[in-house]
């Protein structure tokens, strides 16, 4: 079980801010593929992975990051602070 959170337009496209998922994915990239296969809204949100960033347990990570022991994965567009 892993908590998955979404922000900005990723949240809007997927339709929920947070969900807890059962997945066999070993990496973030595998989790993305798992989600894309589930429903159209995920396929749309993850269509262009280069437009997305990911944080694993609140730290910016790469898409090949492993999921073992991870509690929370967050997907969002590039940040626009400041």
């Amino acid at each position: 079980m892993v908590d998955v959170v979404y922000f900005a337009w990723v949240r809007e496209r997927i339709g929920v801010p947070k969900e807890t998922l059962e997945t066999n994915a070993q990496t973030v990239a595998e989790l993305v593929e798992d989600l894309k296969a589930r429903e159209e809204r995920y396929a749309l949100a993850f269509a262009d992975i280069s437009a997305l960033r990911v944080a694993v347990d609140q730290e910016l990570s790469a898409f090949d990051a492993p999921l073992a022991g991870v509690r929370e994965v967050a997907f969002f567009p590039p940040m626009t602070g400041g």
Partner: protein, 146 residues
């Protein structure tokens, strides 16, 4: 080193006075205040979303990095989220050092990193509708100079 993430407005003058009192021996204080642009009168308001569990730690890590690079006696970052109107203060950075070069450089560094590495997202609302602000390549490029 201090970080505040809040929806409430803040008074940059008051913040500067308080910060100055804390660092009376510093010699140089630099502040930057970010203000919501009106985009030639087209912007009605903006909504800033953030990732509460990550925002504080991410900004603290950026501040720690700045303290490791420059000789700072103190630093302050305030960043707002929620609904903001043109003219509202979005954020403020203050740095204090014995020398102005360090205070200026650290403030610029903090600004550059807050733009692209602090988990905030801005959505602009105009008469034509709403749209997410997209990150600019120049903002990402700005990190390379550090």
């Amino acid at each position: 080193m201090s970080v505040r993430v809040q929806s409430e407005p803040f008074d940059p003058g008051k913040e500067l006075s308080q910060f100055s009192r804390l660092v009376s021996g510093a010699g140089a204080i630099v502040t930057f205040t970010g203000v919501v642009r009106d985009e030639d009168g087209t912007l009605d308001h903006m909504m800033i979303e953030h990732y509460p569990a990550m925002t504080g730690p991410a900004i603290e890590a950026i501040e720690k990095d700045a303290i490791g690079r420059w000789n700072l006696s103190a630093s302050l970052v305030i960043h707002r989220y929620g609904a903001l109107s043109p003219g509202d203060q979005i954020m403020m950075v203050a740095t204090a050092s014995r020398h102005r070069a360090h205070a200026f450089a650290a403030a610029e560094f903090l600004m550059d990193y807050l733009k692209s590495r602090a988990p905030f997202w801005k959505k602009e609302f105009t008469a034509d509708g709403a749209s997410w602000v997209t990150a600019r390549d120049e903002d990402e490029d700005a990190l390379k100079r550090w």
